[in-house]
Amino acid sequence: MSNDTTTEPAQEPTQEPAPASPVKEPAASGLPSWAVQGLVSLSAIVLALVVGAILIIVGDDQVKAAVGYFGAAPLDTLSAALTAVGEAYKALAVGALGGMNPIAESLTQATPLICGGLAVSLAFRTGLFNIGAQGQLIIGAILAAYVGFAWHLPPVLHLVLAIVAGLIGGAIWGGVVGLLKARTGAHEVIVTIMLNYVAIYLLQWLLTTTAFKRPGREDPISPIVDANAQYPQMGDTRLHVGFLLALLAAVFVWWLLNRSTIGFELRAVGANADASRTAGMSVGRAYLIAMVVAGALAGLAGTQQVLGTDLPLTDGVAASIGFDAITVALLGRGTPLGTVLAGLLFGALNAGGLQMQLQTQTPLTLTTVLQAVIVLFVAAPALVRSVFRFLPKERGIGAVLAKGWNG
């Protein structure tokens, strides 16, 4: 039991060759990097569907029955398995894309995911992990809902004010994180996780107060927001104008990151904070700006929930959007376009998953597994490559941003 390593016999200083270290190897193929990323993402989706298929087979009643007489008729098991997987995935696909209503539902589901994903992506590009989209979304939803049901204003103005309130709420909740990071160095991951819980308890508490509680109801639910403050519906579906705002937000983030001076500073700080500081940029200011804008984007997602999809404010208003937003941003690789695409994919999975649950009794939780596995594979391209050997080499998203608590 010695506390002194130098006295122990030196073990062979083996350098196990770092297995396919993605850090050092740039894209070696002739393909442009977006194509490689697209291929890896597609492969990850395929692999995730395979994992999902296994889960469906394991959980299916017919398969369970057929396994009972596997020895007598092994093909029955196989055909039962194939039928189960085929039917579930068919229901998923039809539920997500089969017709106007399913597509509208997919887009509705995608709307807050895109905004939340943008909130995570923007912070990502500045070198910050915004795990707090959930909390920012909740605070945004609280303020937007309050303006929505407590004030009574003419059309358009009311909606605009409610949206602005939501943006401000999210911006404050995000800004606190940026400010603490800039002033004290408090790590944003920890602060955002903690503030998520503070936000949800704040919401639960507010829903017990007279200001927020719906008169005549005992359960935690607020009054419905005024019709004037609601996002107009598009056609006869649940889809609302908030979806267009989400796309506008994506364009805005693209402009901010790629065409504005501030965006350049944000990206510079994200790429190398020390170098940016040496170059005379204010790193703290970049953190603050990034988190304020990110918070506002998450707040926008909150308004879409409470003014568009879920009219009254409840303690489930955020569902798991803030966390799904993280996986959306990861899948989208921190770019606005990627985030929109990833948000659409996850929205479609959610909408299709609901139909799948209705029609084939395959639980909705399967889509959660699918989403997690997709991102897991996307984050570890080396693993995907070990299955699909034809894929060219690519840097993992994680490796680019690999830094610890002290970073």
Partner: protein, 427 residues
């Protein structure tokens, strides 16, 4: 932790030279302490008349009651807290002992608060401590798991996921085998499996560990949710009726008045937690393996040059941590609630993460922080029972706000292991 050598001068110390940074910190912390002291005093002033009664044996409403005059005691404690905070601000106590002033203030504040809440009522004090330990048990195990991982340089945000999987496995194995031992072992194994995912993806595939942690939590919630929907709900009778561990009284120790029933009449899992705290502390700071773990977490390259196999040490630390987190998960089902339900760990894994940070990556510190969080959670439910005007939700926020304050550097400096979260790549 931050005691500096500068302060060798004794009693009439204020003349000692103080670095500007220390001064700022002292004033900041002191200010915070004064705020708390004043809140405590304010509560004391508004304490109602009559007696505050504290119940010393749970469930016993007749005997073993401790009645104190509420307002005088609250005022006394409030003033004492104010003195402690004041003494900290004006440096009347050698710096070495100044940490104790915060402890005194904390106890005074909680005491004054309880007197205020319990004035004219009966506060179940024994229940309070019993519940504190109950809530804290999984938090301590989770935080210890985090300590092991992060001391080795692997960030573990996935404690929540390990909890969920552990809880699920324990419930299923306990229901099918009926054996508590098998359930605990299975929970530990499932925790190790989750930890293995964490290890492979972070150490081998160099995936960013924060990303990975988040994704693993989603994965765990998805997979346990799916299996719950597909199997446990359909056949709850056979798969989701685990037997809850029964309390085992330790002879002798369990008979100590007040403390005995709280600490030594508990389930095996709680005893395992005591042992785990001691073992992790000992192993981490007294053994060769512990030194290696800390070395690869602080400076993997240096460790590598003296012949320590960085990745191997990291793997072993992460996998052992999985055992602890899996057991922590088992607490939710076989240790407490019985049957499994979706998302039943309800963010406790993240509180464990908070406890680990508040505890400054030290097993004992993590345990103290976990107990504090458990105390706040239990206090919230107690106060709802005796009906105080404080909303329970605000009390539930306390641990999280405390953590934000801690990482913002208001209370001492919180420093992670140097290489925490950085994958090690040999060149």
């Amino acid at each position: 932790m931050t005691s500096t050598a500068q302060d060798v001068v004794r009693e009439p110390a204020p003349a000692a030279i103080e670095a500007p940074a220390d001064r700022t910190r002292r004033l900041r912390v002191g200010g915070l302490m004064l705020v708390f002291a004043l809140i405590g005093l304010g509560l004391a002033i508004f304490t109602g008349g009559g007696k505050a009664t504290f119940q010393l044996v749970s469930g016993d409403l007749q005997n073993n009651l401790l009645g104190v005059p509420a307002q005088p005691v609250a005022l006394l404690l409030g003033l004492l807290g104010l003195v402690a905070a004041g003494a900290y601000v004006v440096r009347r106590v050698p710096q070495r002992y100044s940490g104790w002033l915060a402890v005194v203030l904390g106890i005074c504040f909680i005491g004054a608060f309880l007197c205020w809440a319990a004035a004219g009522k009966t506060f179940p004090l024994a229940n309070q401590f019993q519940g504190t330990l109950n809530f804290a048990t999984p938090l301590i195990l989770g935080a210890l798991a985090g300590v092991l991982c992060e001391r080795a340089g692997v960030i573990n945000i996935a404690i929540e996921g390990q909890f969920l999987v552990g809880a699920f496995t324990a419930a299923v194995v306990s229901s099918t085998t009926g054996s508590a031992t098998a359930a605990l072992i299975a929970a530990a194994v499932s925790g190790v499996l989750m930890a293995w995912l964490l290890a492979v993806f972070s150490i081998k595939y160099l995936v960013n560990q924060v990303v990975l942690g988040v994704v693993l939590v989603v994965f765990a919630s998805g997979i346990t949710g799916y299996l719950f929907d597909q199997f446990l709900q359909e056949d709850a009778e056979n798969l989701n009726t685990p037997s809850v561990l029964s309390a085992v009284k330790i002879p002798g120790l369990g008979d100590i008045p007040f403390v005995g029933p709280i600490l030594f009449n508990q389930t095996v899992l709680v005893y395992l937690t005591y042992i785990a705290v001691a073992v992790v502390t000992f192993v981490l700071f007294q053994t060769r393996w512990g030194l290696r773990v800390r070395a690869v977490g602080e400076h993997p390259k240096a460790a590598d040059t003296v012949g320590i196999r960085v990745k191997r040490v990291r793997y072993s630390a992460v996998l052992w941590a999985g055992v602890l987190a899996g057991l922590g998960g088992a607490f939710f089902t076989v240790g407490y609630a019985g049957s499994f339900s979706k998302e039943m760990t309800a963010g406790n894994g993240f509180i464990a993460l908070a406890a680990l940070i508040m505890g400054r990556w030290h097993p004992i510190g993590a345990m103290v922080a976990a107990l504090f969080f458990g105390f706040a959670t239990q206090l919230q439910s107690q106060l709802q029972i005796i009906q105080t005007p404080i909303p329970g939700e605000l009390l539930l926020m306390a641990p999280y706000l405390a953590t934000v304050i801690a990482v913002a550097g208001l209370v001492g400096r919180v420093r992670a292991p140097k290489a925490d979260g950085e994958p090690y790549v040999t060149e």
